[in-house]
């Protein structure tokens, strides 16, 4: 199991209810991959529409006496279809799929409001229209300027290449991986959280209640040593599906030594010992936390 707390950059937003949530920022690679997938889908859609209208236009211009007009209208429609696919693909999906496009869905990322509010339609529009200026416009100047802009001065091409490159890499220069469109729209792209509830280690079995019977007893002094951090490391270890017995043995040894476990009871079954210790330690630390004395780390 991978812990969401490990790995990626986290960014805290506060929901309207006042609950802080720490979202994992979508990594740059996933963003790029999602964009490429979406771009491919855009091209496919565009060409599919194009082909339909073009074929229809061909049929009409051959058969019909007034075919000229019909064909012209159909080709006009083809233009509208391209326009719609090009400009509204991202917006339509992000509105309908709540911040996701097919590419983002495939990569498990989504758009949210950076300030913890509702993801507004205007924000979705803004972040996607800006792409035209931040990305496509400089690229067009670099690769298509002879066709589109006539005489662009020579110095403008490398300048635009630099512009395109800077803006493409812009997300790498801020911790929240924002591109210019995110900045303008006030949005953030995050990793889709995957909640997974595992059994409570402090309960003997699910549903057996809050009354827990341990086989080992620990004195209050023995439970004063470790803090929350160590407790959660132990939790991770106990939750691991496959763990070598030697590792458990080693950890148990270490704990016993630290808490002055009586020498005459040294040889006990490892896992039950650790589980009981976890329960007792957690009970103690939770109790302390409720009384305002959170102990984050071990004392010695």
């Amino acid at each position: 199991m991978t812990h969401p707390r490990e790995g990626g950059i986290r960014r805290e937003i506060v929901t309207p209810e006042g609950v802080p949530l720490r979202f994992e920022v979508a990594p740059f690679g996933a963003r790029v991959a999602a964009f490429l997938l979406d771009f491919l889908a855009q091209l496919l859609l565009g060409f599919a529409f194009s082909l339909c209208f073009w074929t229809a236009a061909r049929i009409f211009s051959v058969n019909d006496a007034t075919g000229g007009l019909t064909a012209a209208v159909l080709l006009g429609l083809r233009m509208v279809a391209w326009f719609a696919v090009w400009n509204f693909y991202f917006i339509a999906f992000e509105l309908r799929w709540r911040g996701r496009t097919p590419g983002k869905r495939a990569l498990g990322i989504r758009v949210i409001d950076r300030h913890g509010g509702e993801l507004r339609g205007s924000a979705v529009c803004a972040r996607n229209f800006v792409r035209e200026i931040e990305f496509w416009l400089p690229l067009k100047v670099v690769f298509l300027s002879p066709f589109l802009y006539g005489d662009v001065p020579g110095w403008a091409v490398p300048l635009c290449a630099l512009w395109a490159l800077c803006l493409m890499l812009f997300p790498l220069f801020n911790r929240s991986r924002l591109r210019l469109g995110d900045l303008v729209g006030g949005t953030l792209v995050v990793v889709e959280p995957r909640p997974r509830l595992m059994p409570d280690l402090a309960a003997v079995s699910e549903g057996s209640g809050d009354l827990i019977r341990g086989s080992f007893a620990f004195t209050p002094e023995q439970l004063e040593i470790y803090g929350i951090f160590e407790l959660q490391v132990l939790e991770d270890l106990l939750r691991k599906q496959r763990v070598e017995p030697e590792v458990l043995e080693l950890v148990a040894e270490k704990i016993k030594r630290k808490i002055d476990w009586p020498r005459n009871q040294w040889r006990v079954p490892t896992r039950p010992f650790l589980e009981d210790f976890y329960r007792a330690q957690r009970a103690r630390l939770e109790q302390k936390a409720v009384f305002g004395r959170r102990q984050e780390y071990k004392v010695r």
Partner: protein, 331 residues
């Protein structure tokens, strides 16, 4: 033997069913959209979300079970993105934009619009007088590719043939209007975006467009067919030239916000103006699209000069009404 009573375990046992229910609803919502949920479930979703969010707050205070904390955090996040998802559809947004956003934003930059229009007119007048004086000046204003084979050396008949050509192969026609739409929309977007550089490139682009227009009309006027070329140009030109002027206005508004932010910080001023500029640019692109369609479809099908003028006048009246009247708050 010892017995423990853990508050956090009790807490989890009591609330777990709520979380599981939320998890299930989210799974349904995710696979098929909110429409797959029954009305009761739809009502339940925000309730469960709020319960889970508060459970997360409680758990953070009383529980040290890391898996539980991570789970609740992820679940709350997951529910948050569904509960605070965009509420409006593309159609709603489009309607709002067309009847309010675009005309209002444009009215906010009426002075920039005036400057932009004057620049284009100035360009047209200059080029017109220059080319009338010496037709050879034509090529200093018009790109050969865009002239489509027409120039000062073309005869009256050649020029008229283009103006009143019947469909010259409809496939090519569609191609060409597509190309023109792209060309002009790109120039327009460029003019607006270059407002960032203080407005000088924007001014040059507006002027340049005027120059091309003036030079073009001049070579026709020389052969006594000025009225015909105006009909050919204005049928879509009313929309298209207006769109170019509008783009210029957006560029100047941007330049103004950067150069003269007034009492505000530059960043804040830009944010306010930026919204208007963005709306106007999107609107201008739509105008280019409309112009491209008129050019591609109507110009070739309406061959009568007077009808062309009638259409041009009608479209002019429409835009006037649209920009002046639409979206004004009723007082």
């Amino acid at each position: 033997m010892r017995e423990f009573r853990l508050k956090s375990v009790e807490f989890r046992r009591e609330r777990k069913d709520t979380w599981r229910e939320l998890e299930r609803l989210l799974k349904v919502a995710d696979s098929g959209g909110l429409r797959r949920l029954t009305p009761e479930e739809l009502m339940r979703l925000p309730e469960l979300y709020r319960a889970t969010a508060s459970a997360l707050s409680v758990a953070r205070a009383i529980s040290l079970d890391r898996n539980l904390l991570d789970y609740l955090e992820a679940l709350t996040q997951r529910a948050y993105v569904v509960v605070y998802a965009p509420k409006r559809s593309l159609v709603d947004l489009a309607r709002e934009f067309l009847v309010e956003g675009f005309p209002r934003s444009l009215r906010a930059m009426r002075w920039e619009l005036l400057v932009s229009a004057l620049l284009m007119i100035a360009g047209a007048v200059i080029a017109y007088t220059q080319v009338r004086a010496d037709p050879e000046h034509f090529y200093s204003y018009v790109d050969r590719d865009l002239a489509g084979g027409r120039g000062p050396e073309s005869t009256r008949e050649e020029l008229l043939a283009v103006i009143y050509s019947d469909v010259p192969g409809s496939a090519a026609l569609g191609e060409f209007s597509g190309f023109l739409f792209n060309h002009n929309a790109n120039i327009g977007l460029m003019a607006a975006a270059l407002g960032v550089l203080g407005g000088v490139p924007t001014a040059i682009l507006e002027l340049q467009n005027g120059l091309m227009l003036g030079a073009f009309v001049a070579i026709h006027a020389e052969k006594g067919i000025a009225v015909d070329i105006w009909g050919w140009l204005l049928i879509h030109g009313v929309t298209e030239l207006l769109a170019i002027v509008v783009c210029g206005a957006a560029g100047f508004a941007l330049a103004r916000a950067i150069a003269f932010p007034g009492a505000m910080r530059r960043r804040d001023r830009l944010r306010i103006v930026g919204t208007d500029v963005g709306q106007v640019m999107v609107g201008a692109i739509l105008m280019f699209l409309v112009a491209g369609l008129i050019e591609g479809v109507l110009r070739q099908t309406i061959q009568d000069r007077d009808l062309r003028f009638a259409f041009a006048a009608a479209s002019g009246a429409f835009w006037l009404w649209y920009f002046v009247r639409v979206g004004r708050a009723r007082t």
